[in-house]
Symmetry: C2
């Protein structure tokens, strides 16, 4: 079988990382072009491909030149948040299958345009939410599908990641987060926690988001960090920078089925990393932070710390029952391919979908529904938390679309 | 010194428990009257007092008869939620100092009336939020006062307590929660987590609550529990009972200082107990569930479960620095007096305030501000999460009132 010819657009931290840790390790694809606005990033990527593959890919600052490559099978877009959608739309309009990295939308119009481009062209579109492929989230999903947690009522999750260094070095490191934290105040990065939750709740497939409210705390974490580290000595624009982005943003989504979802953006105060992924049902709960299940009837404890000491990591005991085979059989090399292994699965699945003509399990309707949380949260925050309606991008088709998991959950064993 | 003469009004689970575990163990007070609408509860309490004290207190079904007891120094009110405020108002209007158990308000009018009764009579009023006296919350408060967590930005907390048995047995056990879960949908019990947070954020003392949004999940936990246990065989009214109270209610409060507070009511799904009390600042965080501090610069971990395994209960290492002397020196008998010891401190403090003519550190303005969250959350939920303004019951006095901790935090050591 011929190799899949891929162009990589966007060669910053994520694009270069995926190129070198994932794409270059796959034998059944060729990197035919690499693109970035910065020449040095293009040169570094060209060299990385040449070192591994033994040929020199086309390097350019223009993504349209990537689209024009003869025999191109697909592009992977890992640019700044601001251009994910427009480049993906342009790719689809040219008939080029596209894998789009995650982020949040800047407007509802952008989300509608993305869906429209897909519907008019039927060009394959994949939304690369890697956390949907992670072991903890999939184990919980399998438990849900098995009915072990009962009727699902509420889910929560967070993007808890101290990004003060990355954001404040945005000019020095050429990272787009700086401008976003300066100019916007919103749930700017919802999909890592929301994606797996939306899959569990069958959003766009029998269920839908109805509305949200969003509230931001004050913004003081970045300013204090910059002051403490005297970072304006390295980047004098930081001296006058006022950050709009609240340190903690909480967003509550209501679903048509009556389920609620709590999302927390938590990126500019000191903390250890957490996605705080939690699923609550009438028969039990799963908490990713402590990798713990609580099933109805298990011993309770008024001393919560004693409870967690006893139950932390009890998820291990349920792996045989709920952990998908794909995770149970993964190799050390696969685990090393990024974020503990989940990156391996999602990029592998994208390539396999291209080769086999299958639809990627996270589609354009998922992308639109998950990304629109960002611009709607911005509106809610601006209006002191006023509820915002969330569009149904499927135009009613969600009522009959069938639930779809991102991988085989070995349901025959559940 | 003469003994303090106390009347106890409300002899259900809480009233009888506090009577026997706390009040009857204090040598410097006499229980001169006990009151409940149910005769058997009165008889049980009269007997409990007689057994310990050797005299028979006045027993009645009328709280007004308690108020009429000659030489009465104070009353403790632990009735159903519906009557805490009106009985407290009546007591103050009679000039009888009152300790009022916690709960949520049914209307803003009720909160205004409580404040007005106090302002017009200046009768001592104490709001008995015991969690304000708990070790974890006080240790975190001391850390905040010491500046160890930096500028405080966000706090969260929950009432995570599986009450399905108690609520569903409401008719059998004569518990008021049943009617509340049937007829209301709100943050019905906010103060256990909100009290300590409000103290940390100096609410009514330099800061104030400004507004809230509240969203409830569907209500399915109780109905499924009743069905599973066939409880309608014991109480046939349960057969037709529809519960309005959502299983999970999330409420976000915004403060004038820009801080946000997330409250979660979580009482009708399986879980172990948790107040999820968490304080976030620019220099660190404290989480009560895991009794853990994270200070800026501590090692982070992308494997959250590994992080928690390493850091769980590290709060112990900070007790010498931050735990108040009162907790470090407590006796086994004090610890046995209810809820791990916090009940000892709060009832002791109430009696001491009566004896010494001091103002109780949780006052009528705290009570009104904390309890009004309930009726405002009800309105917000009814209107799909529309923001609700939170009154300033101090009428502007919060701007000059000084911060006040509930006990001595040994600030000289901090």
């Amino acid at each position: 079988m011929k190799k899949v010819k891929i162009g990589v657009i966007g060669l910053g931290q994520r694009g270069y990382g995926v190129l070198t840790s994932n794409l270059l390790k796959m034998d059944d694809l060729d990197i035919v072009g690499v693109c970035d606005l910065y020449d040095d990033r293009v040169e570094r990527a060209v060299k990385a491909v040449a070192d591994v593959k033994g040929y020199t890919p086309f390097g350019t600052g223009s993504y349209e030149e990537i689209f024009a490559i003869e025999g191109l099978d697909a592009v992977y877009v890992a640019t700044c948040w601001e251009t994910h959608v427009s480049i993906s739309i342009d790719a689809m309009r040219k008939g080029i299958p596209v894998a789009c990295e995650v982020g949040g939308a800047y407007s509802l119009e952008e989300c509608y345009a993305l869906v429209q481009a897909y519907e008019e062209t039927k060009t394959p579109f994949a939304f690369m939410e890697n956390c949907c492929f992670n072991n903890s989230e999939l184990m919980a999903t399998a438990a849900v599908r098995a009915g072990a947690l009962g009727h699902i009522v509420h889910c929560s999750g967070a993007y808890g990641h101290d990004l003060r260094q990355e954001v404040s070095h945005g000019n020095l490191w050429r990272h787009y987060r700086l401008n976003n934290y300066r100019d916007r105040n919103c749930e700017n990065y919802p999909t890592h926690e929301l994606g797996p939750i939306a899959k569990i709740l069958n959003i766009n497939r029998g269920n839908k988001f109805v509305s949200l409210v969003s509230i931001a705390s004050k913004a003081v974490g970045l300013a204090e960090y910059i002051e403490d580290k005297k970072l304006y000595e390295q980047d004098d624009t930081l001296k006058d920078t006022h950050f709009k982005q609240g340190d903690i943003v909480n967003t509550i989504i209501t679903c048509e089925g009556g389920e609620t979802i709590l999302l927390t953006l938590d990126t500019t105060l000191p903390r250890s990393y957490s996605r705080a992924f939690t699923v609550r049902g009438t028969k039990g709960m799963y908490e990713m932070d402590t990798n713990s299940f609580f099933f109805d009837g298990m011993a309770e404890d008024f001393d919560t710390c004693a409870y967690y000491k006893r139950c932390i990591d009890n998820g291990k005991e349920y792996e045989e029952r709920f952990m998908p085979d794909l995770w149970r059989s993964m190799t050390e090399e696969q685990k090393a391919s990024g974020h503990g292994g989940m990156d391996y699965f999602i990029y592998r699945e994208f390539i396999d979908c291209i080769k086999e003509g299958r639809t990627f399990p996270i589609d354009v309707y998922d992308a639109a529904a998950w990304m629109c949380i960002t611009c709607l949260s911005e509106k809610s925050i601006e209006s002191n938390g006023a509820p915002q309606a969330i569009p149904d991008f499927t135009k009613g088709a969600y009522k009959t679309r069938k639930p779809l998991d991102v991988i085989n959950l070995n349901k025959e064993n559940l």
